[in-house]
Symmetry: C2
Subunit: 403 residues, 2 copies
Amino acid sequence: MTGGYGIENLPLGAFAEPSGAPGGIAVRFEDDCVALRPLAAAGLLDDAGLPRSVLEADNLDPLLAAGRAAGAALREAVADLLHDGRADRARRPIGSVGLLLPFTVGDYVDFFASLEHATNVGRLFRPDGEALPAAWRHLPIAYHGRAGTVVVSGTPVRRPAGFRPGDGAPAFGPSRALDFELELGVVAGGPATAVGEPLGIDDVAERIFGVVLVNDWSARDIQRFEYVPLGPFLGKSFATSISAWVVGLDALDRARVAPVTQDPPPAPHLRPADPWALDLDLEVLLDGERISAGNARGLYWTFPQQLAHAASNGAAIRPGDLFASGTVSGAERGSEGCLLELTHNGAEPLVLAGGAERSFLADGDRVTLRARTADGTVALGDVTGMVVQNEREGAPGALSQDD
Amino acid sequence: MTGGYGIENLPLGAFAEPSGAPGGIAVRFEDDCVALRPLAAAGLLDDAGLPRSVLEADNLDPLLAAGRAAGAALREAVADLLHDGRADRARRPIGSVGLLLPFTVGDYVDFFASLEHATNVGRLFRPDGEALPAAWRHLPIAYHGRAGTVVVSGTPVRRPAGFRPGDGAPAFGPSRALDFELELGVVAGGPATAVGEPLGIDDVAERIFGVVLVNDWSARDIQRFEYVPLGPFLGKSFATSISAWVVGLDALDRARVAPVTQDPPPAPHLRPADPWALDLDLEVLLDGERISAGNARGLYWTFPQQLAHAASNGAAIRPGDLFASGTVSGAERGSEGCLLELTHNGAEPLVLAGGAERSFLADGDRVTLRARTADGTVALGDVTGMVVQNEREGAPGALSQDD
């Protein structure tokens, strides 16, 4: 996949100068980063009708608070400047700047919205029980992840240490089952909702500022040992990578399709008047080689359902809250969104082009997630990350339960 | 319990003027709120050696970032002013101001650190299995809660709606099993640790700015239906109440005692050189009547172990991160920290002084958590909250799965 960053897209992000100084917010156009601070200072973005403090901020936080319509107005104003060349002086080659985490993550919620993923994982983690949890078809199951370790695409990911199950006492050391998870995420915008006031499902779309890709890195051995009864904790909390660019939900109008049929029908507060899913082709690359290809349209629980559920108990939604779909897996072999499923928990290792095998990730592996619309015009921001060795491995004095 | 806010304590918080305008940070002394902004403006807090921006902030965020020693220096400077009367003009009766959430919660982690609580809940939720999860004695099990719905003591708590399990399809409606959970929480201070750099257990105490009480309100019916396999979500995320006052860890030196013996011995990275627990008497009041009395010293996993575990995979710890203990229950009847345990899941309802019975909380119930040192000199900030009716209950058009 190439392209996808033309005038139809114009995703928003934040960058740093080569010196490390914050450069402010930016739009991606083709292979350039378009800095908005100088355009705002010259009065060229006045058409967007936004306060200068929003346009001159170091990241998207104030723009997210201003809401989805503010983002759309800004992208439109930038499109005009790009069209007639007035933005040219603010264009910088992407490679010449550093891309920052585009916004401060409020709460990070991770769903379990793919029927195929939930079924596959259930079979592997709970071989003696029902693959699908009893509640799964009634509500979009989710948990809160760690907001403070959400990092921007490109950030190296150190292999985490943790307790791994074994025959006797658990051993503490670097994970031996490090995995990626291919997910979509939506970023909330607009003023915070009031605690105690649920958000109706037909009001959710106005609260979705934009869409990112999410790699919810997972240490399967750590996760498996710790997750009963309170869910994943250290198996996930070491790092979660997201796109440097937030694609406006409006830019994805062309990708809206009818979602899959749900059985049983969802409860009334999870039934939108006009349901939609996103038709986005997805792929995962390992050191540049494609190891998974699927599509997001098959997600069982849609984003409006996910957010309406998360708010249905009265929980407030704040700008900057990140809601991720959970691993997106398809029904066909090769369309699964993580190695746990692609390799059947290591029983069927991937054989890479050079002959190397992978059950889980090796140190030095570079994982890239990609997504774009079927017509190729709009791409989400790639998410890449390289696995870095945990120095504890094999080192003298390495910690283990046997010490 | 009364008292506990003398010169030995001086906990920190933030308040609002009767107009609603932020009043800045404050210290509690006896029954007064001591406003620090006017004292700082008069130069009277210069001895603390803190930037004016820390002293004139609307809440404790900058002070938390400055760290535990900064908090101790500030409390010492205020003690000097109280001693000789120079702080008198900044003293305001507590009842004349509004108390605000004292700091912005970064990530909120909730542990499961009480052996008695974990055992009791395991028996009730999983009667056919082992009461204690396999990993429980090897590591302090935890999950991430919702930071955005942490509220200050005094905030009313609306009964949440959610899916309740039933004989057939689950019903969606207001919880019928609303509970409190008596917990201790510690607030992290100092600069954020680096992602990928675990915090050693003997460095944890320097990262603990102070201590609060936490009521982790829980809807047991919602929780029970949703929690497999990713843990609690909507059953907890509607509200979590914390003290308005953060007690400096230094003020609790007098409460440090040896923790309980752990079997098996913990892994090396969870073995502190100088282990400590907090000897704090705890009680829960329902509309002023005491319904539980216990002590925090029996917690199996200590706070240094909890934080060292949370950081052991390389997760960063940021100022404002909140780590709660999980429900603190004792071994004796009447020392359990939630109604689920106190009433054996409703099988043995509490009979209140007026003759009313409670299996779970009723609308209008006011729950208060209290804690103080055995000598009575240092109290944590009370946490109170009243349950507010969910208007959906019985209302025409109330949502249910049968619609």
